[in-house]
């Protein structure tokens, strides 16, 4: 049996992660996250640096809220935005796992290359490295 069953288990996590990745796929939204990673801020503060209407920025903010990356709470009249670090931790988890996987595979690849080279050199019919 192929790992489809294990996949089902992870399905809700995967679906969540995909929504987060879709949210992160836009440069404006990434800039918003970057701003909020320096600390919480009012919606108007977040919108200020962008050369677009408050309405346009608000749409991006809503996408980020829907993905769970950004949270909103009220303080008096102000709407305060902050990052939900847990949602980004999941992204980091995927990145970290994938990075570790390839680093280890490349270690194995280097090991194999050395092995192949050694076999190649000890091959009696080989004249390339011959004159030693």
């Amino acid at each position: 049996m192929i790992d489809i069953e294990a996949g089902k288990e992870a399905a809700s996590r995967t679906a969540r992660l995909d929504v987060v990745f879709a949210a992160l796929a836009d440069p404006t939204r990434r800039a918003i996250i970057e701003r909020l990673s320096r600390g919480e801020a009012r919606v108007t503060e977040v919108a200020e640096p962008f050369d677009m209407s408050l309405n346009a920025v608000s749409k991006h903010i809503r996408v980020l809220e829907a993905s769970g990356v950004v949270e909103r709470h009220r303080r008096g009249r102000d709407h305060i935005l902050s990052i939900n670090a847990r949602s980004l931790d999941e992204v980091d988890g995927w990145i970290e796992q994938t990075r570790r996987y390839w680093e280890r595979r490349l270690d194995a690849m280097e090991h194999l290359l050395r092995e192949l080279e050694t076999n190649h050199k000890s091959e009696p019919k080989d004249h390339k490295h011959g004159s030693r």
Partner: protein
């Protein structure tokens, strides 16, 4: 908190190897070589590989032990020996979601730089077919997975 890579869905690994570009490329596309480095469980389990390295062709790496079976598979999108290889990748590491791997090979004198870019495609991009060559890939993937071993 250090959420360094704000593109979120991309992992890039670079490494300089002591080998020629051709040697490195062949490690990715010859089944008898693939099984010797691609399996995360070296030696402990049976590992079988098959591949058909041309655009639209499938590859598969199947690892089995008494406890579990795992399969990584995908479809080649671009095959340009010895410089570039692009393929989809689906397996336990990706929670069985499609991802895209680009392997770039740059000769540097007697050494070779290997750059692996592993992207998790936003679902939207898959649906809308933004990625070049994406059209038939889902079909190919379904074929590759259903082939079984």
């Amino acid at each position: 908190m250090a959420h360094g890579d704000m593109t979120g869905s991309t992992v890039q690994i670079r490494r300089r190897m002591r080998a020629t570009a051709e040697q490195i490329f062949d490690l990715w596309t010859q089944p008898e070589l693939m099984v010797r480095w691609m399996s995360p469980y070296p030696g402990a389990v049976n590992c079988k590989a098959s591949c058909d390295p041309h655009p639209g062709g499938a590859f598969s790496l199947f690892m089995s032990s008494e406890e579990s079976n795992r399969e990584v598979s995908g479809t080649y999108v671009e095959v340009d020996r010895p410089r570039k290889l692009v393929f989809t990748w689906i397996g336990p590491l990706t929670n069985n979601v499609d991802t895209l791997v680009t392997v770039e090979i740059h000769p540097r004198g007697h050494e070779t730089d290997l750059v692996i870019t592993h992207e998790r495609l936003p679902t939207q991009a898959i649906i809308e077919g933004h990625t070049r060559g994406w059209g038939n890939i889902l079909d190919h993937l379904a074929d590759a997975v259903s082939k079984g071993f």
